[in-house]
Amino acid sequence: MALRLTQGHIDSIAAHGAQEYPNECCGAMLGVEVDGAKEVRQLAPLRNLRHDRARAEELLPLSEPEKESEKNRFLIDPEDMLRVERDARKRGLDVVGFYHSHPDHPARPSRYDREHAFPWYSYVIISVEAGKPGTYTSWTLQEDRSEFDQELIEVLGVNVPQGATAIAESRRQG
């Protein structure tokens, strides 16, 4: 299944990643399933709960707390998630996936990403190198939870199968 979003959505994800650098940003993507694709209609930037160590640990304990922090981990508060899902349903939308940034790290999912993912959702990852947003990709978890598959991203009718640079290229052309 492809993921469709606008350049405006990409710009917003990139800006959120830059704003939160050197920490990880995260957010939900709300949309609908159309013609076998997930079409994003709205983004919901969310707080990375890893900033609140006590509450985050209560919800999802870290296995290596001395190495893990908001710089390399994100967690969405289930209460935020419940609120976003309810708001989406009221407007006939669904949560179709999530985005997060990898500060100074490639836009590829980690083992930790895979272990904590659900099938069907789209997981957009944007690399933010030295504060500047770069490549972005989208992934879906295989049904048996063994691997992520890279997903086709459609931006304003342009296919981006292998990831693309977030802002600079499209703005230069536009």
Binding site: E68, L75, D94, Y112, F118
Partner: protein
Amino acid sequence: MAVKVIIPTPLRQYTEKRDAIELEAGTVAEALAGLTSKYQGLRKHLYNEEGKLRSFVNIYLNDEDIRYLQKDQTPLNENDIISIVPSIAGGQNLQCICS
């Protein structure tokens, strides 16, 4: 008690695309057992190999996380709404700090 369980989008493929399931149960544990016996594909995404709820699966009864109630033994009232809420988490590979 007749209660409703709200199914999040990624798990609807196991519930015949239904976004809410109504069933009879006296506790949260009974409701989840009823749900997973009817829709067995849900089981591996909700429970780990030891049969415990996965750490990143949260269950809300109306607006309350059952962690802060009586966990899965929380009793249900007529028309209660149970929501399955995934904890969304991720991050990058940890850099090796070995020398």
